[in-house]
Amino acid sequence: MTAEIQDIFQFVLKQAPFSELPESAASYFSKHIQVVYLSKSNQQDWLQDSQPNLYLIRSGIIDLISAKDEVIGRMSEGDYFGYPSLLTGDAIQNHIEVQKDGLVYILKEHDFDFLRREYKPFEQYFVRAHANRLLASRYKQQSETWSERKISELMTKEAVTITPDASIRDAARLISEHRVSSIMITEHDRLVGVVTDRDLRNRVLAQDRDPCASLAEIMTKKPKHIFENNRVFSALHLMLKHNIHHLPVLNEAYKPLGMLTSTDLLRQQKSDPVQLIGRIYKAQNLLSIKNYAQEIPDLLRQFSYHIEDISLIGKLLSGLTDALTSRLIYLYQQQHGAAPCRFAWICFGSQAREEQTLHSDQDNGLLLPDNIDESAREYFAKLGAFVCEQLNECGIRSCPGNIMASNSECRGTVAQWSERFSRWILSPTPKAMLNCKIYFDMRFIDGASDLYAALSQSLANISKNELFYAAMATDINANSVPIGIFQQFKLEKDKGKHKYLDLKKRGVAIINDVVRLYALKAGVARANTLERLEALNKGALLAKSDINNLKDCWRFLTQLRLKTQINREGLPGNCINPESLSSLEKHQLKEAFYLVKQAQQASAFKFARGSL
């Protein structure tokens, strides 16, 4: 006789699908299982092809890992695994990693089939679970590229527009007719304002305003907006930063195309790193900011497994640094009073190019109005010191070159900054060239954007003579691509015996330098290398095929570089040992370096007249 063990039976009875089945099903299950103890040391013994089983976790924590070594899911008490191959007869693809040792119940194929035959809901439960898992993985595949998608692909609502002289009632009617939650107000096809259903409640009903009044009275003027070609990530960032739920989408000519709502984005992906940015923007004190900052490295590591375009990590990290900076500035003003005059916080280098890594250090500065007085300068000296110090504590290291807002040289008025730049441009010494490489990659972070616009304008006006470009081209060509005449890698050696290739210094940085040179020449006011190339596409300075080649190279090298940063192997940062690459990767890497070399030489020919 087979005896029933109460402990098992009571547990099984509580689990789906048995809770919905006659007790006899749980009883059958309880009498036919084997009980095993899973630990790290025997994890490889389970989920074997030779004996497909159903596994039910009684205790412990187990990760299910796919053949591609991605974590499919973390499982604990009451979770099943092993059923897909029981249902389909296909070979077992996944394996497990035990996180916390524990007990697992095993039901053999024969007994699983019996329950399947006898109890339809039992079969349905596992068929559905299997379908869900397939769906989840397909959803993951889709969402892997979510961030790369253009805004225009996500917009679900077409542009509903009205002119500002229309009445509030007209707008309300149009909103309800189109079943939307907001409306865009346009004049000559250009966006001038937005009204949401919430505005109708708060600004009209609650204030007893006459519905016949003009819409212009209640609309949000100069609303935040986004362009159709921007990425989803930027939209999320903007919405979280300003706490808005409706974002008008415009084309390049500022013509409204549609409205992007926070619901549209939520439907896309609940991405943790992006939510972290949102939490940082809402942090109420230093301690919570620091706590959030601590989550960054781990979060990034997880995130990097789930995205295809790994160069997005750079954007994400810069986004996080932007958020930290903004919030620190806000907190400082909360504690020490609002800034005495307008200012702009700007960043340089990798943060500006949005290619930050976990090892990047700070490069930032403060831009002040020309009429600033001494006491105001003192305020900003303290603000700069505070923000830089706190960023350092958040894991974004202080800049060894002291390019930081805590340094008085990096806190200047528009005139002072322009003066510094023109000095470098007019007397292009090697030291000046080094500065140009850092400072010409510049981006606005927080504060008064018109100050930043004024500086950009002023910089564009500084006439750059041939000598300057020639000096930059010469400087770029001083750095060599690590490819020998016979197409073999030229490796560097560190103090130990490691041989390596420096992907940043000898690859990505050269592309950045070449592209910066062309961008300066063409007057492109962007800092991100890919965006610069995109903008150069419109001019004739660089051939389209060259632009595409540079883009591909940049992506490839960046991807390789970030991948090695994530799987560190004891080499200096940004470096790889080519032996660790697959033969395809080696081949691609050589091709990439070859293209970089060509672009480098072409720039010398173009700007330095081949005077090298």
Partner: protein, 205 residues
């Protein structure tokens, strides 16, 4: 020369890999703690083969010939009405004989159970000798003492030992439930002691 062949068998078993041994995990419910005076109320046991607890081969016998339950139902919850549906003590012992004779017998404080069984087997003139006995309580006692911790009272109860390995709290039900809880404990102990290496029975004695 029976002791010689017995000791040879014992030696062989000790050098057997845990994964290759056949073990029987047993628990008894009793009316008291004195084998001379008290009785076996029920017995539950199940085998471990290849480090898997075979629940389908679990056995549970109630002894319908218990003379006096006294206060013991407080502990095991078995009343005389339930007992009436049980088996004769001899049937119980014969089934158990088949399961444990020449095998490795495992129990939590197995010496106590064995004292009762020895008396009972003698009573029916049955010759039953397990090849080897493993005691999950002694295993934990040694482990705790080796780590230099003092032994608190109640530190060696079945649930206290299970907690040391993160096993779920076990509701004390009946002999068979306790046998399962003991078997699970032994699996956890073997993993902890041998850390993934091939565990020999000797490592657990």
């Amino acid at each position: 020369m029976e002791w010689l062949s017995r000791s040879l068998a014992k030696w062989r078993y000790k050098h057997l890999l845990f994964s290759q041994a056949e073990l029987v995990v047993l628990d008894l419910e009793l009316t008291g703690l004195d084998p001379k005076q008290h009785e076996i109320v029920s017995a539950g046991w199940l085998p471990i083969k290849n480090m898997r607890i075979e629940v389908k081969d679990a056995q549970h016998y109630l002894n319908k010939e218990v003379q006096s339950l006294e206060q013991s139902p407080v502990y095991h919850g078995i009343d005389s009405a339930q007992l009436a549906s049980g088996y004769s003590l001899k049937t119980l012992l014969l089934a158990l004989q088949q399961a444990i004779h020449g095998n490795v017998l495992v129990g939590h404080n197995v010496q106590m159970d064995w004292a009762f069984l020895k008396t009972a087997f003698q009573q029916f003139n049955l010759n039953v000798k397990p090849a080897l006995m493993l005691d999950t309580m002694q295993i934990d006692k040694r482990r705790v003492l080796k780590q230099g911790y003092p032994l608190a009272q109640d530190a060696l109860t079945l649930n206290a030992c299970r907690m040391r390995y993160g096993l779920p709290l076990h509701q004390l039900h009946d002999a068979l439930g306790d046998a399962l809880a003991t078997a699970e404990l032994l699996l956890a102990q073997s993993q902890a002691i041998c850390l993934g290496g091939k565990c020999k029975i000797a490592d657990l004695t």
